[in-house]
Symmetry: C2
Subunit: 334 residues, 2 copies
DNA sequence: CTGAAAGCGCTTACAG
DNA sequence: CTGAAAGCGCTTACAG
């Protein structure tokens, strides 16, 4: 492995001169610069990032803190992980992966050992234990997802409230006066998943203001139970005329249950949903939907963090990404 | 941030003595050691990993190279990523995530900049472009998955051939003489996914030797198409008496198609499959199956790599993890 | 515009 | 058993 000293010798200049062309921070005589670059190419030299990090006290590395709970494992996780890493690299940062084996301690340790310049927290929940050590240390970080209350840390999330309003409005505009809202199991709310609560609250409020009578159904856990619940909901004379679905398992199962029952959308029942494009593709979900934006959310989060790393402290803010409504004709006019 | 010098001063010893207690490589007088440890605690000192890396020329970091193709995005990816990271940490290694934005170049760069001590390649395919730069550099690495031919690099994979044989034997032992083998779309084979080929080849061979007549069905791409293909396969008088399924989409859809058609397992048709436990749980798949072992495979891969990092060069080897057969009574005796 | 020197925070022979 | 010195590979004031 060639070092900066080897390059300097080869080019017949001082190491600091090589460093200057490497960092681009100083003007170097074009001729000298060319010699240095030739030497770099000849020796196949690449900078030792660790040494640079030590000298500059900037690691150019972001820590990605992943929460991983067996029970709520989402296929979307990989999408966020890859997106964050891609955007980080595009901004000149590497990504160190931190699985959240011991909650707050993992965060505290990585901050103290100065391995990363900033932290991206995935899958943030209402009362997230990882937040306190970050605030205590005043460490640069960004949350993907939202805690219950402003934490003093930048956050980026999908605008679940806006998504909920879009769906309610879409139904109301078509003349619907009632619908059933299929949401997550109770335990998801208890676990502090704010996306669930934000969507629900906005949904209920918009429904009230638009005069849409809403019935709430917390889907059970497990694919078979979800199917049975849907079947039970739909296989009756008092079948709802419209469904608002915010629950991945339920929306994945719904086409099959409807087919089972010989029901047609939108003739027998109108359906709207919020889910990821990925899920939609995987299951071929054919309904009008507000699509979550994992790549976009990841991108904004990393860019926000990177911007903060370079500039003077500034008040924290939250960015909400408005999701697009993809109309697929699954709502009947009444 | 306290440094080793601060600790030395606080404890009234030399920096090298502090280093000795830090690394544990040298015997230090218990009393001195206690003083040093008190100082460390008092100053809340933690070692600067980057500086240590520079001094030791060991980064204690593993690079995790993730391939990510939109078209074949698997939810299992996150499982491997998290498992690799967990096991790496248990072995004292951090994990740097490398999304494979530009194939071989990404690998080449990370090797040359010496940011990692070793590489874990996820999702290896038949003729993987990432392998050449590793072999060229003689860099420590381990493959998760198998290339077509021995590459001179350690590899760990599920034993798909053994899994195939188990399933065929399970049917044959129950007296079955014929079955339909539902496998991946042609393009998966074309894309060089060796798991598909290994399973298929072993399946065909074992079927031949056990006198099981096997019909091969390459499932189409896309959930609706898969459902239609299964329906077409099963909704006929010449319906197969048994199914061997190696295709995530197909096995996820199968219970619903069977229910649609009013068919009972195993009365009307026996079913066996190879899929991940994760998928099985998510979709409530109730059939006898050989379950892939992402955590186990990841664990062995990391341990193999770590072992290689510590010891003298040794010939590469491939470890195949034998998957367990979980009997769920979906095979009728004939 | 270029270079010599100091320093980033560690570890590791080597004396003592 | 402990410490002074050199070195890991860079960058950054500071002279010149």
């Amino acid at each position: 492995m060639a070092t900066i000293g080897d390059v300097a010798r080869e080019a017949g200049v001082a190491r600091s001169t090589v460093s200057s062309v490497l960092t681009g921070r100083k003007f170097v005589n074009p001729e000298t610069k060319a010699r240095v670059e030739a030497a770099i190419a000849a020796l196949d030299y690449t900078v030792n990032q660790g040494a640079r990090a030590l000298a500059t006290s900037r690691s150019m590395t972001l820590g990605l803190v992943v929460r991983f709970h067996e029970s709520e494992f989402s296929p979307a996780l990989a999408t966020y992980i890859v997106a964050v890493t891609d955007v980080a690299r595009a901004n000149g940062y590497r990504t160190l992966l931190l699985t959240d084996f011991d909650g707050a301690d993992a965060v505290r340790t990585v901050i103290r050992t100065r391995q990363v310049d900033g932290l991206v927290l995935l899958n943030v929940v209402e009362d997230d234990a990882r937040i306190a050590p970050i605030v205590d240390a005043g460490f640069p970080a960004v949350l993907v997802g939202m805690p219950a209350e402003p934490s003093g840390i930048d956050a980026v999330d999908l605008d679940f409230s806006a998504g909920a309003r879009m769906l309610v409005d879409h139904l109301a505009d078509a003349g619907h006066r009632a619908a059933t809202f299929v949401t997550w199991p109770e335990e998801v709310f208890v676990a502090g998943r704010t996306y669930a609560a934000h969507f629900r609250d906005a949904c209920l409020e918009e429904a009230r203001s638009r005069g849409l009578e809403l019935r709430v159904l917390h889907a059970p856990v497990g694919p078979e139970a979800v199917k049975d619940a849907l079947r039970h909901l739909l296989d009756t004379e008092k079948r709802p005329t419209a469904l608002i679905v915010h629950n991945d398992a339920a929306i994945a199962m719904l086409p099959l249950v409807l087919r089972d029952l010989g029901l047609d959308v939108p003739r027998d029942c109108s359906v709207v949903s919020l889910h990821s494009a990925e899920l939609g593709r995987q299951f071929g979900i054919p309904y009008t939907a507000v699509e979550s934006q994992p790549e976009r959310v990841s991108e904004l989060a990393v860019e926000k963090l990177v911007a903060r790393l370079g500039s003077p402290p500034e008040a924290a803010s939250t960015v909400l990404v408005e999701p697009p409504l993809i109309v697929r004709g699954s709502v009947a006019g009444l």
